[in-house]
């Protein structure tokens, strides 16, 4: 793959689109030379971001708008921007769950954003009039053995 490389796609706002999105993301991450576990983290982060769009931003919308994605690979960064056309959410107000208490308290949901934040090196969210944009970045030079969590997240 020649870098920088950019892939743009627009998929229907439907859970059945998620497999296609994951397939493209993992293929590009493999080409970028990322380790298997790092590819898995990007894959689930993007899936969770898209699932949140479907379950929250697009809740009650019929037909649901599409989800647009821009994947960009440079020599040192793998980034995915997820663009939705629905309701925005309070990104800064989200309280991270603590584990394993979250599970023992009987919760089975609500960990998508936690996963996104812990699987990526940086996560930003921008509300817009016509679109909301979540930008996920993974450093290609990041140490894959670094423990998750505790990272400084840009506002």
């Amino acid at each position: 793959m020649e870098v920088p490389a950019t892939v743009r796609l627009s998929v229907p706002g439907d859970p059945r689109s998620l497999a296609l999105v994951r397939s493209i993301v993992t293929s590009l991450a493999e080409d970028a030379g990322l380790a298997e576990t790092e590819i898995g983290k990007i894959e689930i982060a993007v899936d969770e971001a898209c699932t949140n769009v479907l379950e929250h931003a697009y809740r009650g919308l019929s037909p649901a708008p599409p989800i647009d994605l821009v994947l960009h690979v440079t020599e040192d960064t793998f980034s995915v921007e997820i663009i939705d056309h629905g309701r925005s959410f309070d990104f800064e107000g989200y309280r991270l769950p603590t584990f394993p208490d979250h599970w023992h308290d009987g919760n089975t949901r609500g960990v998508g954003l936690y996963l996104i934040r812990n699987c990526m090196d940086s996560v930003t969210y921008r509300r817009g009039k016509d679109a909301n944009r979540m930008l996920l970045k993974k450093k290609l030079t990041a140490n894959p053995s670094a423990p998750p969590g505790g990272k400084e997240l840009p506002a």
Binding site: A19, I44, P100
Partner: protein
């Protein structure tokens, strides 16, 4: 549209029930997975192994569901384990703090200990 069906095989080995999904467990396939596994967890003493050798992806809601199934089985005096979990999926289990809650990739001794 690229959709990948989730195929789920259920078999018995002694008093163990082996559930072997093939595919990806995500927002599109989660309900099929729930519909298959939930009744198995309602047996008098459920002893379930989820064989993950052909599972390529599990989303966060499905991990929550696995914890729920685990609680159901253990609460009924049974047993619930994930077998043949890939390195990629295991790393997500660790991030979610489930590595010390779910029984993941137990050996025979681990299964025997859990069953007793």
């Amino acid at each position: 549209m690229n959709t990948r069906e989730l195929d789920i095989r259920v078999s018995r080995k002694g008093d163990l029930t082996i559930v072997a999904p093939r595919g990806e467990i995500d927002a599109a396939s989660l309900e099929a997975f729930r519909r298959t596994v939930e009744p198995l967890c309602s047996q008098p003493v459920p002893r379930l192994i989820i064989d993950c050798r052909n599972v390529r992806f599990i989303n966060s809601t499905a991990f929550g569901l696995l914890f729920h199934f685990h609680s159901q089985c253990v609460g009924r005096g049974g047993f619930f384990a994930l077998q043949n979990v890939s390195k990629k999926i295991a790393s997500i289990i660790n991030i979610l703090g489930l590595q010390n809650v779910l029984l993941v990739n137990p050996d025979k001794d681990g299964i025997n200990a859990a069953v007793q």
